[in-house]
């Protein structure tokens, strides 16, 4: 039996509710985006129902400590098709066991969630490290990213607390939405880029006059801090994988 849900968190939680209501035995959860009808397997389309989802979420809050709720949410943000199924199975497992079952790392779903959560948290941490703001002429600090996982909801607080006295925008180019901090609150925004605007790097016309200087000083500093006698490219690439180089001011040629 296959359950099909719309890909939302509420949809995922609703399908858990449906499973407990119907008890259809072994089920696989797939999102509509990847579902392919199979010849010999039944499938059921789950309608997302927020009240059902809320009940499941309340139940989870009673069963799980905060750190595991976070792992659950992080795994959801990974947006991986397999992760949805693991989340579904994990939730069913947690509800059927006594308190504390999330510590059973021998269970495949528990282990899977802890791995997804680790990947997502790592990506979140990388974004906290690798985002480079460029100051625009009107004093807004802008950065664009395209992270492997949907980590914007996770990094919002970090940047809000850290850069409380400057306006900033972090834009996810891949998922086409971003965050804007207006000195009070963080809001979700979408930008309509015209075709030929560069989303990664601000054009000199748009950026603050000091921007060039500090970018240059930073590149100089990056070069000075290197010790040539200890060159270790393998370690360097391991820490800063090449896919992130496009964000990094110090890795740009000009």
């Amino acid at each position: 039996m296959t359950y099909i849900f719309d890909g939302s968190l509420a949809g995922l939680l609703s399908s858990v509710f449906e499973w407990f209501e119907r008890k259809p035995g072994q089920v696989i959860l797939k999102s509509t985006a990847i579902f392919q009808p199979e010849a010999f397997a039944e499938s059921l389309e789950i309608t997302t129902d927020t009240s059902k989802a809320d009940r499941i979420w309340l139940g989870l809050q009673k069963k799980l400590r905060k750190d595991w709720l976070r792992k659950f949410y992080c795994s959801y943000l990974s947006e991986l098709p397999e992760a949805y199924n693991h989340l579904f199975q994990f939730t069913c497992y947690i509800f059927m066991q006594l308190q504390g079952a999330e510590e059973n790392y021998g269970n495949a779903h528990v282990m899977a969630l802890s791995k997804y959560a680790k990947s997502v948290e790592r990506e979140k941490h990388r974004m906290e490290a690798f985002i480079r703001f460029q100051e625009t002429a009107d004093g807004i600090f802008y950065a664009s990213i395209d992270p492997d996982f949907n980590v914007l909801p996770l990094i919002s607080n970090h940047f809000k607390n850290r850069y409380a006295d400057q306006q900033w925008i972090i834009y996810d180019v891949k998922r086409k939405y971003g965050l804007h901090y207006n000195l009070n609150t963080v809001e979700e925004i979408t930008i309509n880029f015209s075709k030929d605007t560069q989303q990664q790097k601000l054009s000199p016309a748009l950026s603050d006059e000091k921007e060039q200087l500090y970018a240059l000083l930073w590149k100089d500093y990056f070069k000075s801090a290197n010790i040539v006698a200890r060159k270790n490219t393998r370690l360097h690439v391991q820490h800063v994988p090449k896919r992130y180089w496009k964000y990094l001011t110090e890795k740009q040629l000009s």
Binding site: N104, G106, E135, D165, N226, I227
Partner: protein
């Protein structure tokens, strides 16, 4: 104007790079004045240089003018290098603007000693005060304590800095006397102990009074140069251990010596820096701090130096085969930690997971242990029955045969014959 600041930054960043301390962890400052910056408990490495070392702080000297002549230091008085000095405002501007662009996690400020210790310490204090009070900066600040500066200055600096450090430079007093006759370990110990007393004092006050200012919340650290003089690994680690114990240091850094001069007291120019040795020392440091090892277990009179081809944990296990194999499903956490191939995270997961049933090989692999290494030292629910009792040396051979060390491919300190 631009060129001058660029040149200064190049000179003063270059002179500071041999200070290896980079961590930005342990800060507790919150952005509660709607200023700039908020500490991240675990620290953030914002980028990595091409030698693979992390860059989390803007690491600069205030000046590289120095009245001392230490043989291992680039900025020594007798060395013919360009000298420069930042003004207070330049350091503040650089820090604020780098921080705003998310380039850095904070400032690491050190300095050559010009005029005298107090004069230098006053300048450093001026910068941190300006950052904290005028610019409302709450990011990380790592400040060098200048040995010989007055207690009042050091104490005041401690109120604004997150971490303070003084470098031991050489692991033994004899080594230091050889290369820097003007300095001694006692000069370092005095301010280190003074800051430590104050950290304890402020901590005690905090228990009684609600609003006590922070005093060096991220603790103190120190650094030793490795491979400039002929200390054994045992000398180095025993010194490190004593400093961890006596002054509750957060970190001791080991910096492989990179030849900078043709001084005949030290390795000649062009010698490879002892990177592998440095790595083994850090591994030992971690075993001491996080894995519950006593330094005497790893290094003692029979084994004064760490093995080069295998890591210290494996080396210990092979010398102490009487403790192994252990049963993963029964052994204490402390013993599981000592198994080569099992780290802290995996050990914790194992202890939690075995409450739900005996663990099997496939589960251990999924939990994330290096099974091929650990299998010689553990048994679990479905371990294959083994008739032979292998010697430590045999196990070492098995592990070396199937592992590919990233170091062995690069030649050791091998002489060229032709």
């Amino acid at each position: 104007m631009f060129d001058r600041i660029r040149e200064k930054l190049n000179i003063l960043a270059d002179a500071a790079k041999c200070d290896v301390s980079c961590s930005s962890s342990g800060g507790t400052r919150k952005n509660d004045n709607k200023g700039l910056g908020n500490s991240h408990t675990s620290g953030i490495c914002h980028t990595y240089t091409e030698d693979g070392r992390c860059v989390s702080l803007l690491k600069i000297l205030l000046t590289n003018h120095c009245i001392y002549d230490c043989a291992f230091c680039v900025s020594r008085k007798s060395n013919d290098v360009k000298r420069a000095a930042f003004t207070v405002d330049e350091v503040v501007e650089l820090t604020m603007n780098f921080y705003r662009r998310n380039y850095i996690e904070g400032l690491f400020l050190s300095s050559g000693i010009f005029k005298n210790a107090d004069f230098t310490m006053e300048r450093l204090l001026l910068i941190v005060k300006k950052l904290r009070l005028e610019q409302r900066y709450n990011g990380y600040i790592h400040l060098k304590t200048i040995p010989g500066a007055s207690d009042e200055l050091i104490k005041e600096a401690g109120l604004y800095a997150d971490r303070m450090s003084i470098n031991l430079e050489m692991p033994t007093e004899a080594g230091l006397k050889l290369l820097a006759p003007e300095k001694s370990h006692a000069d370092v110990i005095k301010p280190l102990a003074f800051v430590q007393q104050n950290i304890v004092q402020f901590g005690e006050d905090k228990k009684l009074i609600k609003h006590v200012p922070k005093f060096v919340p991220a603790g103190q650290s120190t650094q030793m140069v490795v491979g400039a003089t002929a200390e054994s690994d045992k000398d180095i680690m025993y010194t490190a251990n004593a400093f961890y114990k006596n002054y509750s240091l957060k970190r001791v850094y080991y910096s492989g010596y990179i030849p900078i001069s043709n001084d005949n007291r030290m390795p000649i120019l062009g010698t490879q820096p002892p990177l592998l040795r440095e790595n083994r020392l850090y591994q030992t440091d971690w075993l001491m701090r996080f894995y519950g090892f006593q330094v005497q277990e790893i290094l003692n009179d029979e084994n004064p130096n760490l093995e080069v081809d295998i890591d210290p944990k494996l080396s210990w296990a092979i010398r102490n085969m009487q403790h192994f194999p252990i049963d993963i499903n029964k052994a204490d956490y402390q013993m599981i930690l000592r198994v080569p191939g099992i780290g802290i995270m995996s050990a914790k997961k194992i202890v939690q997971a075995r409450k739900f049933g005996k663990l099997r090989i496939d589960q251990l692999k999924k939990i994330g242990i290096a099974y091929n290494r650990a299998k010689h030292f553990i048994t679990c629910a479905d371990s294959p029955y083994q008739l032979k009792d292998y010697q430590g040396t045999q196990i070492k051979a098995f592990i070396l045969a199937e592992s590919q060390s990233k170091y062995l491919k690069t030649a050791q300190d091998q002489l060229l014959l032709f």
